[in-house]
C-alpha cells in the first residue's frame, strides 16, 4: 500500500480549493489537511497553484506534490495524471488549483471532468472560497453556470477572515448570500458555510507553523513564538471553531479516516454513510 493509500468502503475524496485569488483557498486547504491528518487520515496534498510563491500550500507540508513547469498545459497534464493515480490507488487528496486561468479550468473546459472522475466512484468535493466582494462570486458563476462544473458535494465557503475589521460578517456577506448564483447553487444541494476568522492568521502562516505548534508557543527556526494572546486566539480557533466548522458540513463529504471515522463515531455508523 502506498503512502496515503487507504482501504475501505467509502469512496476516495478529492477536495478542490476553488475561487479567485486571495479568497483563502490555501488557508482553507492548509486547515483541512492539518485537521484531518490530525484525526489520522494521511491525505495527499497536490499543489497546482502556479501564481503563488510566497504563500503556497507546499510551504506547510513537506510531502506536498507540486506541478512541474510553469505553463497552464503543464498543470493540466499533471492534474490529469494525479487524478488517474487517485482513481487507481483509492486514497484521499486535496488539490489547490490556484486562482485565475489555471490548468484546472482548462481541463474543466476540455472534458466532462465530474462525470469522468465520479464514474470511477471518487467523490469530488468543490470548496468554493469567497470573500465579501461581489466579484468573488465570478469564479463560482463561471464554473457552475458556464462550465457546468458544480460537484454534487459543493461547499460555498464564506471566509470571515476577509471581512474588514469593524464590520459584522452578516453585514459583509449579506449581498453574497442573497445573490442568485448562491441561491441557485444551494437549491441544487450546495452547502454554504462560514469559515471563522483567525485574526492572527498571518502571524501563524508567516512563521510556517502548524496551528498546534502556534498555540503551544513553538518558535520557528530563528524566530519568535506567537505572543501570549495570539496563542490563546489560535487555541480557541483551532480547538473550538475549526471542529465546529467541519462539524456543520455533511460528514460524507469530508475525508474522515476510514478506520475510525468522526471522533466519537462508531465504525458501523461510518460505514453506513457511503
Amino acid at each position: 500500500m502506498r503512502d496515503g493509500e487507504m482501504a475501505g468502503d467509502r469512496p476516495p475524496i478529492v477536495a478542490l480549493g476553488l475561487g479567485r485569488q486571495r479568497t483563502g483557498k490555501t488557508t482553507l486547504l492548509n486547515t483541512m489537511v492539518q485537521y484531518f491528518r490530525g484525526l489520522g487520515n494521511p491525505l495527499r496534498v497536490w499543489n497546482a497553484d502556479q501564481q503563488n510563491r510566497s504563500h503556497t500550500i507546499s510551504l506547510f507540508f513537506r510531502d506536498a506534490e507540486d506541478v512541474p513547469g510553469g505553463g497552464i498545459e503543464d498543470a493540466k497534464v499533471w492534474i490529469e495524471a494525479r487524478l488517474e493515480d487517485l482513481i487507481r490507488h483509492r486514497y484521499d487528496a486535496v488539490l489547490d488549483v490556484g486562482g485565475g486561468a489555471t490548468g484546472f479550468s482548462r481541463l474543466v473546459q476540455e472534458v466532462p471532468l465530474l462525470e469522468a472522475v465520479e464514474a470511477n466512484s471518487v467523490r469530488i468535493v468543490g470548496l468554493f472560497c469567497v470573500g465579501p466582494e461581489r466579484a468573488d462570486l465570478d469564479y463560482l458563476e463561471q464554473f457552475a453556470e458556464v462550465d457546468q462544473f458544480m460537484p454534487a458535494s459543493s461547499v460555498i465557503v464564506l471566509n470571515a477572515g476577509l471581512v474588514l475589521s469593524g464590520r459584522t460578517a452578516i453585514g459583509a456577506f449579506g449581498s453574497v448570500i442573497e445573490h442568485p448564483v448562491v441561491k441557485r447553487a444551494s437549491s441544487r444541494g450546495a452547502c454554504v458555510a462560514l469559515l471563522p476568522a483567525l485574526t492572527c492568521m498571518p502571524q501563524v502562516t508567516d512563521r510556517g507553523l502548524t496551528f498546534e505548534e502556534a498555540m503551544n508557543g513553538v518558535a520557528p527556526e530563528g524566530g519568535e513564538p506567537l505572543s501570549l494572546f495570539d496563542r490563546a486566539r489560535v487555541n480557541r480557533w483551532w480547538s473550538r471553531d475549526v471542529p465546529e466548522f467541519f462539524g456543520k458540513l455533511p460528514h460524507e463529504w469530508l475525508p474522515f479516516p476510514r478506520t475510525t471515522g468522526r471522533v466519537g463515531a462508531t465504525e458501523s455508523s461510518v460505514e453506513g454513510i457511503v
Binding site: 459584522t168 452578516i170 453585514g171 462560514l194 456543520k248
Partner: protein
C-alpha cells in the same frame, strides 16, 4: 399556537400601519403562522396565491394586484417583520413575580415544579424517573429540522432550511465574538 397568534396580533396592533406597506403585506403579517404551516406541508403556488389574493382585494404598494414575484418578496419581508417583533418581545425581561393581583390568579394554580411532579405517574418518585423513550436501546426520536429565521425561503426543502439555519448560527457566533449584532437584528 392559538395563544401565540393572539400574542403576535396584539404586538402587531401596536405598530402604526404605515401606508408605505401594502395591504398584502399586512394580511401576510396577520396570517403569518397559518401561511408558515401551509408552506410546511406544500410548496407555495404563488401564481394561485395571487389570484386568490386579488379576489380579496389584497394589493401591492401601488394598489395593483400582486404578481407572483411581488408576493414572494412581500412574504419574505413579512416573515422578517414578524420574526423581528417576536425576537424583541422574547428579549423583554419576564414579568415580575407578584405582578398579577392575587384575585386574578386561577384557583388551580401551583408553582411550576409541583405542577410537574403532580402530572407524571403516581407519587413523586415517578417524576424523577427518565421518560420511557430514554430507556437504553429505545429508538431515538429523529431531530426535527430547524427552520432558518431569515436566510432561505419557506419553499426550500427541509435539508436546505437546515443548512441556512446552521449558517445563521455561524454568523451569530462569529459576530458575537466580533462584538457585532446577531443575524436577527440586521438591517
Amino acid at each position: 399556537m392559538a395563544r401565540r397568534n393572539r400574542d403576535t396580533r396584539a404586538i402587531l396592533r401596536t405598530i402604526e400601519r404605515s401606508e408605505q406597506r401594502s395591504r398584502l403585506f399586512w394580511w401576510m403579517v396577520d396570517h403569518h403562522d397559518e401561511i408558515v404551516e401551509a408552506a410546511r406541508r406544500h410548496r407555495v403556488n404563488w401564481g394561485g396565491f395571487c389570484a386568490e389574493a386579488a379576489k380579496l382585494g389584497l394589493t401591492d404598494t401601488r394598489g395593483r394586484a400582486p404578481t407572483a414575484r411581488n408576493a414572494r418578496e412581500t412574504w419574505r419581508q413579512a416573515r422578517r417583520a414578524v420574526a423581528a417583533l417576536r425576537a424583541a418581545e422574547a428579549a423583554k425581561p419576564p414579568a415580575r413575580p407578584g405582578s398579577i393581583y392575587p384575585s386574578r390568579i386561577p384557583k388551580d394554580w401551583k408553582p411550576e415544579p409541583f405542577r410537574t411532579l403532580g402530572s407524571v405517574g403516581s407519587g413523586t418518585g415517578a417524576a424523577l424517573r427518565p421518560p420511557a423513550s430514554a430507556a437504553p436501546g429505545a429508538p431515538a426520536t429523529p431531530p426535527a429540522h430547524r427552520r432558518p429565521r431569515f436566510l432561505g425561503s419557506p419553499d426550500d426543502p427541509p435539508e436546505v432550511q437546515e443548512m441556512w439555519a446552521n449558517l445563521e448560527d455561524q454568523f451569530d457566533k462569529e459576530d458575537r465574538w466580533a462584538g457585532g449584532l446577531p443575524v436577527k437584528r440586521r438591517r
